[in-house]
Assembly symmetry: C2
Homo-oligomer: 268 residues x 2
Amino acid sequence: MGLMTGTHPHPDEEAGARSTAYRRIREDIVGGVLAPGWWVREGALAEQLGVSRTPVREALNALAAEGLVEIVRHRGARVLPWTMRDVDEVYSIRAVLEGEGARLAAIRASDEEVQGLWESAERFEQAARELVDLRARGRGGDAAARGAVDAVTEANGVLHRAVLTAAGSPRLTVLLRSLSSEARIGQVFHHYTDADLTRSMVGHHDIVLGIERHDAPLAESAMRSHILAARHAAARSASDAPAPSTRGTAQIDRDRAREGWGRGQGVP
Amino acid sequence: MGLMTGTHPHPDEEAGARSTAYRRIREDIVGGVLAPGWWVREGALAEQLGVSRTPVREALNALAAEGLVEIVRHRGARVLPWTMRDVDEVYSIRAVLEGEGARLAAIRASDEEVQGLWESAERFEQAARELVDLRARGRGGDAAARGAVDAVTEANGVLHRAVLTAAGSPRLTVLLRSLSSEARIGQVFHHYTDADLTRSMVGHHDIVLGIERHDAPLAESAMRSHILAARHAAARSASDAPAPSTRGTAQIDRDRAREGWGRGQGVP
DNA sequence: GGACGACAGGTCGCATGCAATCATGGGACT
DNA sequence: AGTCCCATGATTGCATGCGACCTGTCGTCC
C-alpha cells in the first residue's frame, strides 16, 4: 500500500559502458588487482576496456562516492587503503543502520515476508552446516571450500537484504550499498571459525524471531549484536593483504605509482 | 597518531564547472525552481550555465547518488518528490547515525573539542533567543526573521558537524551528507515554535554534557531523542509545497513535463 | 652543495560531434 | 472508432579533441 519512490538502478544491474567499467574497476579493486595507493589512469583503463575515457570517468566518480577511490583534481583517482580501522568503522555503522532496518522490519513486515525470512535463515543454516562438514572432513582445500564459502556469503547477503526490504526504507538500502561493505568484506566468511558460523546462525534466528513477533527492540538489538559480533572475524580478514592477483589487467602493473602508501595520506 | 584516510572534497567546496553546476542545480531543486517530477535536460542546463553538457552530466550523476534526482537511461534526470514519508525516513536514519556519532564523540572527544562543542551550543542558544525575541516583538515579518532563522540553521549545522568531527568517523559524515538532509530540510527552523527552540537548546545541552562526561550511552540517547523530537517539526515543514519561485532559470519552465507525479512511481 | 626557476611530459577537465535510443504524432488497416 | 505501425524529432550515451594544470627534471645561480 505504501507509495514507493522510484527504483534505484545501481550500476550493478545496468547495461552500458559506464556500468561495465564500474563493475570491472570495482572488481579489480576488491580483488587486489588494483592495490591501495595506486593511481588509476582513465586512459589506460579506457583502452583496456575498449571504451572511451568518458564512461570510465563517470565510473570513477561513482566509486569515489562510495569511498573506494579518491579523486584528486588534475591528478586522477587513487585507490584508497582499507585498514582494520575502516572495518571497525563500517561495522559500527552497519550495526546501527541494519539495526534500524530490523526495527522497522519488525514493525512493518508482512506474514509473507516473515516466511521468506525464515526460509533465508534456513538456507544460510544449510550452507553453514555444509561448510562445517566440509572442513571437518579435512577437504577444505580449494574449489569445494571456496564454493561453500561463496554459498554462505550469498545466503547471508540474501537474508540481510530481505530484512532491509521488509523494512521498507529504500534509503537504508542505498546507504548500506554505498558503504561498499559487501564489496570489500565479501571474503569475510573465509575467516569464520565453526563457532562463528554457529553464532551467526543463532543470531539470524533471533533476528527473524524478533521480526516475526513484531518485537522491535528485540529485532533491533539482535541485529546489532549480530553485526558487532561479526566485527571481530571481519577484523581478522582485513589483515590479509589482497594478493596482487595474476588475473588479467596486467598492463596496469606498469603504471604502478612510485609513490604509494606513504605520501598523500596525511594531507590536511 | 591515527592515520587519516584522504580528505573528502565534496563538490560544495570545490572549483570547476562540474561543482558549479552541482551547486546550482541543487539550489534550484531545494529552492523549488525545479519541482519534483520535472525532467532536467542536460542541454538546457548547460546552456543556462554557460558550460558544456559534460560537467552538467557529472553533476546530475552526483545528485542522483544523493537521491535528489532519478536518472533513467536514455531519458534523462527527473527531480524526485519529497514527501512526509521521506522526511520521516531521513530523520529516523539521522537519529541512529548521529546517535552513533555522539556515542563515538563521547568516547574520543578531546578537551578542546568539548570546549568547541560548548561554544557551538552557546552560539545556537544565542541565535535561538534572538529569533524568539524577534517574534515576541511581532517583527517576524520578512528579512529580519529570515536572517534570524538562517543564523539558527547555521549554528545548528555547526554544532552537529562538530559532533561528527569529534566522532572521528569520516564515513558517518559522508553518509549523512549523502542523505541530502541538510539541503532539503534547511528551512525547517521556520516552522519551529518557541517551545521547539527551547527543546532544541536543552537537547544540545544534554548531548554536549554527555560527550563531556564521556558518557557514551547518555550522549547517544540524547542525540537520538533530539533528532526524533525534531522530526515532528520537520514533518510540518514538509507539507508546504516548494513554491515555483520566480527566481531565474525561467526557461526551464517550458520543459515542464506533461507527465509528472503519477507515472513512473510504482515501477516494481 | 643547495635552492630556486624554467621547461617538458603527461594527465585531467571540459567542449564538441555523432550514433543509438526513446517518445510522439500521423497514417493505414481492421 | 479503435488499434497497430512506422516515421520523425528530440535527447541521451559515448567518442574524440583541445587547452589547463600539475609533477618531475634539468639548468642556473647563490
